[in-house]
C-alpha cells in the first residue's frame, strides 16, 4: 500500500511517468532528483503520510527502498 503511494508521490514530484518509478529508483538514475526536488519530495511525503521525517533522516533517503523503509517505520 505504502509502496504505490510513495511511487505516486515520487512520480508527481519528479514529473516522470508513474511506471518509471520502481524499487531501484534512486538519485543515481532519476535525472530530475536534484537537491531542490529532494526537499519537495520530503515535504510531499510528510503531507501524504501525515508524518514528520527527522532532520537526520532527510539526507539518507536517496533511493526508493530507503524511503519505503523509513516511511514504514514512521507510520507504524
Amino acid at each position: 500500500m505504502n509502496n504505490s503511494r510513495i511511487k505516486q508521490v515520487m512520480s508527481a514530484v519528479f514529473e516522470v511517468p508513474l511506471d518509471s518509478i520502481n524499487e531501484n529508483s534512486s538519485t543515481d538514475n532519476l535525472e530530475n532528483w536534484d537537491s531542490l526536488r529532494h526537499l519537495n519530495l520530503i515535504l510531499a511525503l510528510e503531507e501524504e503520510f501525515g508524518v514528520s521525517i527527522p532532520d537526520e533522516e532527510v539526507g539518507n533517503l536517496v533511493n526508493f527502498k530507503l524511503i519505503e523503509l523509513t516511511i514504514n517505520e514512521l507510520v507504524k
Binding site: S26, N60, V62, N63, L66, L69, T70, E73
Partner: protein, 395 residues
C-alpha cells in the same frame, strides 16, 4: 640457473648440433666473414681442404650456448676462453659440445671449464679452457619459485565464516592446499573440505580455540605434520560485533576483542614464523575494518582492536620482512555475511547508497584481495592495509 654452491668439480653438460648451410649463411650475415674457404665450393676445391670448411668460431659459439644455458646457465659471465681448432668442421657434421668443471675458485665464485667439441666420428675438433663467473641474482629463487610450486599450503583461520569460506575456495582455485580452521562448526568445515577436494586440492579441517596459545601451537604442528609446510596464513576469524554504549563499556569488552584480534594473531605468527623463516618465504594476511578509518558509535572495543591490528601488522611486517615474511591487511566495509545478518536492513541500504560503487562488500571481494596478497604477485608488498570499501574512503 645453477648457484655456485650447486656446481661440483667434475660436473659435465652436453649439447648437440648439426651444422647446416643456413648456419653458415647466418654466421656470414652476422659477422661479415665471407672468406671463400667457408662459402665457395669451387674456391674450396682448389685448397688442400677440397670442400668448404665451417668457420671455427661458429662451432665454438656453441660453447657460449652451453655456458649460458646449462653450466652454470642464466647470469653466467663468460670472461675467458682459450681455443684450439684441431680439425675442420663441414656442413652436415654432428657436433657434440661438452663443458666439464675442472676447478672452483670459492672466493671469486669463478669456475674453470674444459670445453671440447667432437664430431660424429668422435674426433676432437676443438678444445679449450673457459673461465666463468657465477653471478647471484638479486631475487633469490627461493622467494618466488617456491610460492608457485604446486604444494603451496594456506591456513585459513575462521574458515567456516563468510569471508573464511570464500577465502578457502578462492585459494583452492589458486592452487593452494588448505588447512581449514574452525571453532565450532565441524559440519560446515567438512562441507568446505569436500568443495576444496572437488577443486582438486587437498584439505584438512582442524578445530582450535585461537585464544589459547597451546591450541594454536597444536594446530600449526598438526598442519605441518600433514602438509610439511604452511606458506600462507589468512586470519579471517570474527565474532558478532556487540553494540555497547560508551557509559556501559568495561575493560573486559576490550580484552575480548584484543584476544580475538591481537593475541591470536601474535600467537599464530609466532607459531608459523620458524617454518616460514626456514623457507625464506611466508604470507600473513589480517582482516581489518573500514570502521577503523570511518568510526561509528557503540563499536569502540571492536574499532580499537582493529586499529591495534594495523599497528601489529605494520610493526611485525617491518621486523619480519628481512626474513621473507610479508604481513598485510585487508580492511573491508560492511560485508554481507551471516555475521552481519542482524544488521538492520535500513543500515545496509544506507551503507550501499552512500558507497560510490553502490553496494555492500561481498565475501568474494575480500577473498579476491586475499588471493592477491597470498600470491607471488604481491611479493614486494608488506605492512600495507588495502582498504576495500567501494570508494567510501580514498587515500
Amino acid at each position: 640457473m645453477k648457484t655456485y654452491a650447486e656446481i661440483q668439480v667434475g660436473q659435465k653438460e652436453t649439447l648437440h648440433h648439426i651444422i647446416t648451410s643456413e648456419d653458415i649463411s647466418k654466421f656470414v650475415e652476422l659477422t661479415g666473414d665471407d672468406n671463400r674457404l667457408h662459402v665457395d665450393e669451387k674456391f674450396a676445391s682448389t685448397t688442400p681442404f677440397k670442400k668448404p670448411v665451417v668457420h671455427g668460431m661458429l662451432g665454438a659459439s656453441f660453447i657460449s650456448t652451453i655456458i649460458g644455458t646449462k653450466l652454470p646457465g642464466d647470469g653466467a659471465l663468460w670472461f675467458s676462453q682459450s681455443l684450439e681448432f684441431l680439425l675442420p668442421v663441414r656442413v652436415g657434421d654432428e657436433l657434440t659440445i661438452t663443458a666439464e668443471v675442472l676447478k672452483k675458485h670459492d672466493k671469486e665464485q669463478i669456475i674453470e671449464l674444459k670445453t671440447e667439441i667432437h664430431n660424429q666420428n668422435k674426433q676432437l675438433v676443438t678444445k679449450g679452457l673457459a673461465k666463468v663467473k657465477v653471478i647471484a641474482t638479486e631475487k633469490p629463487e627461493t622467494q618466488t619459485a617456491k610460492i608457485e610450486a604446486p604444494q603451496r599450503v594456506a591456513l585459513v583461520i575462521g574458515g567456516t565464516g563468510g569471508i573464511g569460506m570464500a577465502t578457502c575456495l578462492q585459494l583452492a582455485k589458486d592452487g593452494f592446499d588448505l588447512i581449514v580452521h574452525y571453532n565450532k562448526n565441524k559440519e560446515k568445515a567438512e562441507a568446505i573440505k569436500t568443495q576444496i577436494e572437488s577443486l582438486g586440492r587437498k584439505a584438512l579441517c582442524i578445530q582450535s580455540n585461537i585464544t589459547d596459545d597451546k591450541e594454536i601451537q597444536h594446530m600449526v604442528e598438526k598442519g605441518l605434520r600433514n602438509f610439511g609446510r604452511i606458506d600462507v596464513l589468512a586470519h579471517c576469524a570474527a565474532s558478532v560485533i556487540p553494540n555497547i554504549k560508551f557509559q556501559d563499556l568495561t575493560w573486559s569488552d576490550y580484552t575480548k576483542q584484543f584476544e580475538l584480534n591481537i593475541k591470536s594473531s601474535l600467537s599464530l605468527i609466532q607459531a608459523l614464523a620458524p617454518g616460514m623463516i626456514q623457507e625464506g618465504y611466508g604470507k600473513i594476511i589480517h582482516i581489518g575494518s573500514l570502521a577503523a578509518d570511518k568510526p561509528n558509535a557503540d563499536w569502540s572495543a571492536y574499532i580499537t582492536a582493529k586499529s591495534a591490528l594495523e599497528g601489529l601488522t605494520k610493526s611485525l611486517a617491518f621486523e619480519l620482512a628481512p626474513k621473507g615474511i610479508r604481513i598485510n591487511m585487508v580492511s573491508p566495509s560492511l560485508v554481507s555475511t551471516e555475521l552481519t545478518a542482524d544488521v538492520p536492513e535500513k543500515i545496509k541500504l544506507m551503507t550501499a547508497a552512500q558507497t560510490p560503487l553502490r553496494r555492500l562488500a561481498l565475501a568474494e571481494d575480500v577473498a579476491g584481495v586475499i588471493s592477491f596478497l597470498a600470491s607471488s604477485k604481491s611479493d614486494f608488498l608488506t605492512g600495507e592495509n588495502i582498504r576495500l570499501n567501494g570508494g567510501q574512503i580514498m587515500y
